[in-house]
Amino acid sequence: MIRKLWNGLANLFAFLLVLSIVAGNVLEANRAQVDIFFGTQSSETIWVEDPVEEGEEEEEETGLKNLNQYSTFLPNEEYLNADGTGNSRALIKDAIDIGRRHNSEGSVLLKNNGALPLAKGANTKVTLLGTYAYNTIVNSSMGQKSQGGIISLRNALGGTATDFATENVGANASGADFQFADLKLNGNGVAAGAGFTVNPNFTGNYSGVGQNKGASNTYTVGEKDPSTLTAEFTGSFRNYNDAAIVVLGRGSGESNDYLKGGLNNNEKAEGITEPLELTPNEIALLDLAKDNFDKVIVLLNTNSAIEVGDLKYDNEIDAILWIGHPGNYGTLGVADILCGNVSPSGGLYDIYATYNLSTPAMQNMGKYNFVNGSEITRSKSKTYVMENESIYVGYRYYETRYYDAIYNQGGAKSTVGTFASNGAWDYAAEVAYGFGYGMSYTTFDYKMYGNITFETPSEHEIYAKVQVEVTNTGDVAGRTPVQIYGQAPYTQYDKDHLVEKAAIQLLGFDKTDIIQPGESEVVAVKIDMQNFASYDNTYKNPDNTYGSYILDAGNYYFAVGNGAHDALNNVLALQGKKVADGMDYEGKADAARLWNYEYTENNGVDATTFGVAKTGEQIENQIPYIDWNFFSGTKIPHLTRNDWEGTYPEADYALTAPADMIEYLDGAIPVGEGAKGEFYTIKTNDNVSNIKWDDTTTNITYTQMGFASWDDPRWDSLLNQLNLAEATTFASLAGPSFTALTGAGFVADKGGLTDNAGNGIVFKLNAGKDKNQPWAVTTGEDANWNGQVFGSAPLVASSFDRDLMYQIGDFVGNEAIFLGLPIVWGPGLNTHRHAYNGRNGEYYSEDPVLAGYCALDFAVAARRKGLIASPKHFVFNDQESNRQGVAPFMTEQRAREIELRAYQICMEAVDYDGYGMIGLMTSFSKVGPTEVTNSWGMLTGILQEEWGFTGYAVTDISDDKDLYTGMVYAGCTGYDLRFGQPTSTSDFASKIGGQAQTVTGKITLSTDMFAGDATMQQIIRRSIKRSLWCFAQSNLMNRSAVTIDVANDPTGDTGRPDVDYVPGHNETIEHEVIWRVMYKSAIGVTAGLAGVAALLYVASCFKKKEVK
């Protein structure tokens, strides 16, 4: 009997022992994420001071300066206490203020018949209505989430203080509350909150309603059936009847799109099938409001254009305010607008069409599998999306067609693509609210001021200075965006070569200060004329390559307006057009300017000025394979304004991949073939004798390279000191953890140096990566505050406020200093190709210039605080459907002028003298049939050679691990291996996968695989230099005593403590944190028990024998 017991227990504990070991391995392999979850710091990079020899601390005359640990980047003064410790209260208070500004500046008033603003104070009694009035979507379901305490809409409108204990998302973790009276807009403005009296019966009626915060293929809006509201509630309307505030919501999030016809069956009704249409319950709710209230105010809690065309013309709907997804604190900004604390000043980030299906891009979106998918070997290569709408994305389509309809050209008046028009295509019917449009509580007059002047710092750079005089013609003080648009000539050359030109495009923008009634302000906007150039992929260059940016000779127009449509009408007015010609209202000719570009050479096609990049690199086609028609087989036309009717995209192309495309899809195009090739065959017998490794003749650490320029010759010495095996391992990784580069003094970081967010740093203050910092917040009431608090990206875009964009970057940079985190994988910078993209909440806009400047200002401010912003997803993450490897097809012109231009603005950073973005995350998707991660043309040809990018480029999570050599060759600096990271050279192969692909098939990875390959050794050296160059400008330098290049110091050397410099070196130490103690204890206990049970079993065997 006893023997059975010991036998069984021995086996049971052996089982538990192995299970504990498994748990330990899994935890250690994913420690960076585990630490964030538990708020622990399992490993730490510490600074160990070295003995100072006499004279060693002397600074040299080279322009270099020594700094002590925690001296390179300091938090803003207002976030520090007098003793240098962190003032978390001030930090959070500022977060609330910035969050509030997201909505006070970014909310867009679309309609107002005078109902708004409501009078501030308790005498205004309002009733909130709707599921999303109670359960307002504050941010995405995935990708850009919110964490911690929020300020609910009912609280912002009717409360007097935050209520974080009961109002929170994700985790109840925001610390102590703030009184609204203490929250002053911009630090010295009006106190927060509208002070209304909010119908209290609302809460009981909606408590418990669901919230569908992410897009999905069969979306359930979830609006509560208003007939189920209690009689007590409806009966109380008369007591709170100054206004009904109805909130309509749609979610946004990662992984899923809205799909055509994708409204949940339970909510469909006759004629109502689309997820962004108003559902029967929403219509009934609006009817209830209209029946019971004189004032009906609708708030649009969405980043996806809800179809509100009917509401625009409904006289019983008094006001419509778009509020996006307001983040944790943005409802205070909504309250500011509703009660008139501020006059609204946002302009729409996207066009709001009457029916979303009317845009050409919607004809082909969603899930498409190649008809001959079985002939394609690679599983991630079987899906596609045809984007043959060319450059006519968003407003570019509607406005250009409007313009052509007025000139009666290109078949613009045909019925093709009509959804709301009665007969011929009609702009007024097809569009509800235009791009950039937004109302105010006052009125503004815009007109061009002075002449447009041009600056040409080099042969290939032209910058225009456009000045606008803005006059407040109403009786309320307010701000307004100054949006500068342009129209380039559409010539016969363009028509012949299929170069497309939008009739109007945003060129630049800024925002006025607060203008008092009757007063004026002149705003100057700098325009990079590169953004006015068009890409002609047919242009033959002198060296017989093809592709160039061109400027056609002819008339160029600059215009200002309340949105793109207004600006276009102003251009039309200058061209002499009137309502009689078909315009929907008269434009203002003095709000537009003509600039005639005289260019007589080359038949009037200037391919010289922008045919060479700012870097001096000649422009040429880099990604010709992105065009479906590059390959053999069926040709598909791209939309051209020269023939709207004949080229408007067919819906849902069913495509068969031709054989020459399948070679790309399967990754079988080697370097040197096809279009420069994407996949790499390792060489084994190159002469590598002139490439130095393990050089000990110099001793330069990366901590001595603070702010060193890219061209600093010391980099070569540092690279020579590296070990090839370590370098190869390092070049596979781009976060969160990094392996050691002993020769550069870079110790392995296993705790994580990256964060995946953008609207704040995603983890709690007490989960910081360096808890030894003097300002680290590890305990106290705010220790659990999570920095991911800000509203959706379109709110930032709609503000048209570059100061706000910069301020957000500065704040997130400060968060990063508090948390000791040098790299953030954000912001989102993909294009809103259409309203159905599930992730629109994370990306700014449909317009690349607007998006580009949003991201640029964020990134520059963050970089000045030592945070490397790495926008995602470079590039063509145009939809979530099939995002793992989907092949998007379009023209190279479209790619360069829409998706890529936003990134180009960030990388070239002309507004900051080239001090721009130095980080990047690549996309899951392809470029045509080739993975972005492996596209040399994209990652080296365009990104590095044309734009001069020398920064860090990480893949998206675990993307294309089967294509390692091609990934490195193309120009990524490593994989995002959030889970399962190699921690040393010894497990490099196993963690990357051991299955990297070349044209010749699978190869076995090893750290000496490039020993005989000179090309790859040079690429790896460059890859490492890019990563270290970024780290040397980041707040990672805070962990060490460092040497900085004063001339490149972005901080202005302010606030640094004046103490003696002590040299030293970094070391990594491990901590016995709670999860480590738990699994080690489990291993110990189960091992002991298993051993004891086994011994007792054996003993019982012998005991029995003795008895016998």
Partner: protein, 146 residues
Amino acid sequence: MADFMKKAGIMFWINVATVVLALVGWVMYMVTNSVEGHAFANSAMGIAFGIIAVVLVAAGAFTTVKFGSQNIITFVVKTAALVLIMVAVAIVLADRAVTIVNLMTWDNENTVAWNAFYTTVVSVAFYLVAVFTIIATAFMDNKKEA
């Protein structure tokens, strides 16, 4: 043989079932290992440990009949089988943890990864049932005590 079968009681058939369970777990390991892009980094070890474990479980079935379930030889053979199966499971879980986390968060539309996940679940489930059976039989005796 006839004598052997005569001595084989219910315990033998439980052990045979354990062999089958472990074998199915091993076969499914091979299947999940072959899903495109989802081969295990240490697949050779997993294959080897799995098949050795199956052999040991079979040997345990034999020694159970031959020497009894509480005999020290049976104890050593079956405990070794248990440990080897668990090591195989460990290899699977350590490698698939990333895939599983991805599927449960941002990668829930990756059909290939779901294939890898489902086949993994089947493999691990059969392996674990085999382990539980070994543990259960360790508490049992097929011979009356003297």
